[in-house]
């Protein structure tokens, strides 16, 4: 089995080709470059490096978000299109779970974080149980303060993973004291090989045409519209 994995959910880019449990090639980067400029060229390069043709792959795994709306959509659009036209199965995996996979074997809670501006974060809470990652809470969009309060109440060590952790490190230590553990830099970037690993272990095959990102947030215009609807209803 040959797998292609793609993660463009946030600023980092990761693409991997894995064959029968071996990473043939993987590219990881974290640069402020538009994914539309980098993602397809990196995928093309990777296929050339491992001397495979697109049709040689057997399955595709993609990071489905949450994260940057545009970023997630680029990876999902590429993965969907490849899976559809090559007639291969498609697997979507939480971008946060991919980050959490960097910290398996940690004895405690694993909290992958992606900054969502204005003191908000996308975050998940995972635990490494019986050789796999179990979600303790659903991935979501949280005010960092609320998230840390909940984590503090668990009174267990929490490992924070992700390159945006540094932005909130002080607050984490203030709220969780010695229970706040910060992952070192080699564990901060999502890896497409982990994405493939999770898809293989626990992935659900997606309906390719219907597959869409997990935004974990409705669009602002839609939220405003819903609010207006409710107001109108109350006034009636």
């Amino acid at each position: 089995m040959i797998w292609l994995g793609i993660d463009t959910a946030n600023m980092p880019l990761s693409v991997a080709i894995v064959k029968d449990g071996t990473i043939l090639a993987e590219v990881n980067s974290s640069m402020a470059v538009n994914h539309s400029l980098r993602a397809m060229p990196v995928i093309e390069e990777l296929f050339a490096t491992v001397q495979l043709q697109p049709k040689d792959i057997d399955a595709i795994a993609v990071s489905e978000g949450p994260g940057s709306y545009t970023g997630v959509r680029i990876g999902v659009t590429i993965a969907k299109t490849l899976a559809w036209t090559l007639k291969k199965p498609l697997f979507g995996v939480s971008s946060l779970k991919v980050l959490a996979a960097n910290a398996v074997y940690f004895d405690g809670l694993i909290c992958p974080i992606v900054d969502a501006r204005r003191n908000n974060v996308y975050a998940g809470v995972y635990e490494f149980v019986d050789g796999g990652l179990t979600a303790i809470a659903e991935d979501g969009h949280f005010a960092i303060e609320n998230l840390l309060d909940v984590l503090a109440s668990k009174e267990r060590p929490v490992l924070f993973v992700g390159k945006d952790v540094a932005m909130h490190e002080e607050l984490m230590k203030e709220r969780l004291k010695e229970n706040a553990v910060i992952a070192p830099f080699p564990l901060q970037l999502p890896r497409a090989s982990s994405l493939i690993f999770i898809a293989q272990q626990s992935g659900q095959e997606e309906n390719t045409h219907a597959f869409t990102p997990e935004y974990r947030r409705i669009a602002e215009a839609e939220a405003n519209w819903l609010m207006q609807q409710r107001k109108d209803q109350d006034n009636e």
Binding site: N34, S36, L37, R38, A39, M40, P41, I43, E44, P54, K55, Y69, T70, R73, I74, V76, T77, I78, A79, K80, T81, L82, W84, T85, L86, T208, H209, A210, T212, P213, Y215, A219, E220, A221, E222, W225
Partner: protein, 340 residues
């Protein structure tokens, strides 16, 4: 061309997810458009984030349908043409990345097309273009007069200095309390009306082919305020008719003058507002009198579609133009000639 050439077109620059296969640059084999109008109507306009979300949902389905309708496999295609800009960047990126992935998977070349070149080439799907040719492009984002001396050669001779014609239509429709998109509603009211309010025409400098519609929009707003302040009620049909007459007069006059000055052999209209019945009738009348061939594609090819992108893309492809896997969305892309 010895062998038939099939090009897949993809268009996602605004709120239509579209794919089409065009044969030899002028024959539509399939033309699929998934519109988001129903979803966007509740916001009174196109919300970029919502548009992008819809595109991701629709993109592979729409491409699949275009191939199925054409009864072609990817291996039967010669290239993929996709709108590179201008447009909403997040929306453009869906079409571009789908096009790149599709081209890569199937070993096809890719061509990035300017949206307005697409609108102009929609005419090529109806009748062959004859040069020199004058194109009037009128849509929600554009009001331009473009001179073409041959295929792939564009000279901008006039453009709007403020609002696009379609934008003015939408804004005035909102003032009159008409639903989005406002153009067709104003057109309908104007055609039914027996009376028209007299609004100013923005001719600008005597020799200019530029346009300006913001003053007209303000005139409509002021007119409504004045009447309402006096306790009167505005007749929307009279306002619509007056507004439309002002827009149509200026567009017709300048197009006709440019056609004469540049001695063109053919005049074409393109873009969503080209579907406007009032504008069409006025241009038809003028060019019939002048004995100049004037064409407007049917509504389905005036509004955003991918057949027009495939048509323009074919001309670019034949001229040797190729895009790369690094193609990015270009929201402010300028129309440049590919055949100088």
């Amino acid at each position: 061309m010895d062998k038939d050439m099939y090009i897949l077109g993809i268009e996602t620059s605004c709120d239509e997810t579209a794919a089409s296969v065009v044969k030899n640059g002028h024959e539509i084999v399939s033309n699929v458009v998934a519109s988001q109008i129903q979803s966007q109507q509740r916001f009174g306009g196109v919300v970029p984030e919502i548009a992008s979300r819809h595109h991701v949902e629709q993109i592979t389905l729409v491409i699949e349908e275009a191939l199925a309708e054409a009864n072609l496999a990817p291996s039967d295609l010669d290239a993929v043409a996709v709108t590179e800009g201008p447009g909403l960047v997040g929306a453009l990126l869906i079409g571009i990345n789908a096009a790149k992935a599709f081209a890569f998977a199937n070993g096809l070349p890719i061509v990035g097309v300017h949206h307005i070149a697409g609108h102009i080439y929609a005419n090529q799907l109806m009748q062959p273009m004859e040069f020199p040719l004058l194109a009037l492009i009128v849509s929600g984002g554009h009001t331009e007069l473009v001179l073409m001396e041959k295929h792939g050669s564009f000279k901008l001779i006039g453009e709007t200095r403020d609002d696009a014609a379609g934008e003015a239509y939408d804004k005035v429709a909102r003032v009159l309390g008409l639903p989005y998109p406002g153009g067709p509603h104003i057109d309908k009211l104007a055609l039914e009306s027996d009376e028209a309010v007299d609004f100013p025409r923005a001719w600008l400098e005597p020799d200019s082919y530029d346009f300006s519609f913001s003053g007209l929009k303000s005139a409509v707003i002021n007119y409504k305020h004045n009447i309402e302040q006096k306790g009167g009620e505005v007749n929307p049909s009279h306002v619509a008719a007056g507004f439309q007459q002002s827009v149509v007069d200026v567009l017709t006059e300048k197009t006709s003058r440019a056609a004469k000055e540049y001695g063109v052999k053919q005049v074409i209209a393109a873009g969503g507002v080209a579907a406007n019945k009032g504008l069409r009738a006025s241009l038809d009348a003028v060019f019939e009198k002048e004995g100049l061939p004037f064409y407007v594609p049917p509504i389905s090819l005036c509004t955003d579609n991918a057949a027009m992108i495939a048509a323009a893309g074919t001309s670019m492809f034949v001229s040797g133009k190729r895009g790369t896997m690094e193609m990015n969305g270009r929201p402010g892309m300028e129309l440049v000639s590919w055949n100088d």
